[in-house]
Every structure is written in C-alpha cells, then in structure tokens.
Amino acid sequence: MDLDQLKPIVETLVFASDVPLPAENIKTLVEETTIEDVQKAVDQLNHDYTQTARTFHIVHIAGGYQMVTHSSYASWVKKLFQGRIKTKLSQAAMEALSVIAFRQPVSKPEIESIRGVNCDGVVRTLLERKLVTISGRGEGVGKPLLYKTTREFLQYLGINELADLPKPREIEELFKEQNANADAAE
C-alpha cells in the first residue's frame, strides 16, 4: 500500500483509539504495510497538521501513537473537563514513584529505607491511580510484594519508554559537586 493510501487509515485508527496505538497493531490491521511506513505516515500527518495549524498532533507515547491537543490550548480543555481532571501527585508520592521507576521491581521496605518514612499511603495512591502495579513477591523477610511501573505511568509522564526518564545522578557525582563547591569557597 502506498503512503497516500496508508495516511488516512493511520489517521482514522489513531483518532478512534482510546489508548496509545502501537505501530505493530496498525501494521497487523492494515496488513500490507511496514512499521517504517506507519512511522512515515505519522510524520506526514504531523507535518500536515502543522501546515494547516491544527490544534492537535500525534505523539509517540507509552509505546504507541496517540492524538493529543496542543498545550497552548490546555486552559480551555481544563475548563471543559473541570472536576474530572485528576489532581497532580504530591511530592511524597512523586519521590516514591521515582524510587519505584529506577529500582523496579522494588519492595515497600526498600522504598521506605530510602525515603526514611512510612510509605503505605503513597504506595496505595500510586496503585489506585494505576501508575504502579504489583509484579510479584521478593526474597527476604516476609516475602514482600514487589512494585513496578505501568504503561499508564509512561502515559502519565508523556514518555515513550523507561529509557526516556531522566537519570538519577550518581552518588559520586554528588560528592564531587560538593567538593567543588567547597574548593570554590576556599
């Protein structure tokens, strides 16, 4: 199938989907195409949207394609969905989420040893919002439950895969920075 034929089909499928639609799925549905062509079709669609000043575009998120509105018009959509938009995560929840993201699968005691406080409440919040899920039981005392992040987590932060996350700095680096500051002070 040539690109001109593929483009409207890809557009329709991404438009109709309520979850990020993986290129793999589009390929399976359309049959006579390749993942590369799907990618090309998406690029051309986005190009068209920019040319015609549409207020939405297609993003590659959580392993799939999804249509999203432009951030410049966020305030209007927020008005439309008033009362239905979930609140932002608290700092405590975000800290616990960071630990889970980089150490997954990880148990609650491990999260608590890093944060130094009880994490029952925040872990429950993260579970309820489906940002993390239980991935099994770990070794060790009491065989604690292990947590990992979900697809919703990627979607929530607008990233395609875990590798896109900002990396925590190494402890050595933090040490160095401190020493450099101390040297500068002297």
Partner: protein, 220 residues
Amino acid sequence: MLYLIKKEEIDIYDIPIAVIARQYLEYVQLMKDLDLEVAGEFILMAATLIQIKVRMLLPRSPLSEEEEPEDPRTELVRQLLEYKRYKEVAESLTDLEERQSRHFARRYFEWEKPYKEKEVVLKDMSMFDLLAAFKAVLDNMPKKLVHEVQMIPVTLEEQMEFLAKSLEGKDHVVFADLMKQLEDRIVVIVTFMAILEMVRTHRIFIRQSDVFGEIWISNR
C-alpha cells in the same frame, strides 16, 4: 531527618551531630509532654545520632588505627545522598507531569466517574508538621471571654414604692428631677420600668407641657 537538616541549613557533608541530636531529643521530649506515643523511628534516629557522636569522641582503639580511619557519619551521609538523588529525580518527573498535563488525549470519558466536586487531597505529613499544627492551634486559641452576671440591686416593687413616696403630698414631680437622684444606670432603668408599670395600672399619669418639654408625673 532531612527536615531538620534543611531547617537548620546544615551542610549535609559536615553534619554537626550534637546539634541535630539535641533537636531530635527536644522533639522526642515534646512528644512525651504531649503524651503522644513516641514513634520508634524517632528514638532510633536519636540513638543512632548519639552513637555516632560517641564514636567520634572516643579515641580509636589501637586495632582500628591500622585501618582507614572512617568518619562515623559516612553511613548517614550515604543514606541522605541516596535520598537526595531520588528527590532530584522526583522533581524532574514533576516537570514531565506538568508538561503532559497540558496535553489531552482522545479517550472515552463515560468509563470514568466524575470526580467529587471538591476532592480532598491528602498529603503525607511528618510528625513535625503535626507538632507545628498543634502549636498553631495552641497559639490561636481564643482568649477566654468571661461574662459576669450581677444581681440587680433593686426590684421593680422597690422603685414603685420609691415613686409613690416621691409623690406623697405633692401635686407632681418632674421626671428629670426624679431621675437625677439616681446614680446607678440599672436603677434608672428599673425606675423607668416602674413608671411604665404604674401608668399601665393607672396609679399615676404623665403629662408634658410641650414637645421636648418637662415631663410631669402626677398621682391619679
């Protein structure tokens, strides 16, 4: 722990253990005074701090002198740094969250129940937050207002008697003159009520020479 270090603006690589330990113990004491069950992790942290301090003060045993002399605070610093790393990551995740929250994807909303009008956001709080809140409550308690209720020193009957006496053998008394004799506000009020009562029961009557003129009180 980080809370205290932040509050005191302490360099986390050179923690004055004694200062922090004293603060910790103060909080533990405050919790005791308030009859709160002192959290185990608090006592543990205080004990750890004291242990570190003791190890810093004691001369090293000859055996350990051969080893690399290690600052006993290293372990604590390592823990705090580990936490700091994730705190930094959490900040960048919050940025991503903010960025993504401005994009709206197509989806089916009928699957989601609308949120309550006012969703209460419960955040984690530390024991310090709780203590700070408690202190604010104590500080903001309203000063006690006391209403003193006094017995009225006169009765209506007494003042009716007083009026009758004032009128005895006279054609009339002037209202203003009558009231001038009275000093206490409450007595004035009761006397006035006595006049109204006696007018009502037709024992006296009241006349006025002209508008704003003297008021005469006379026997019937």
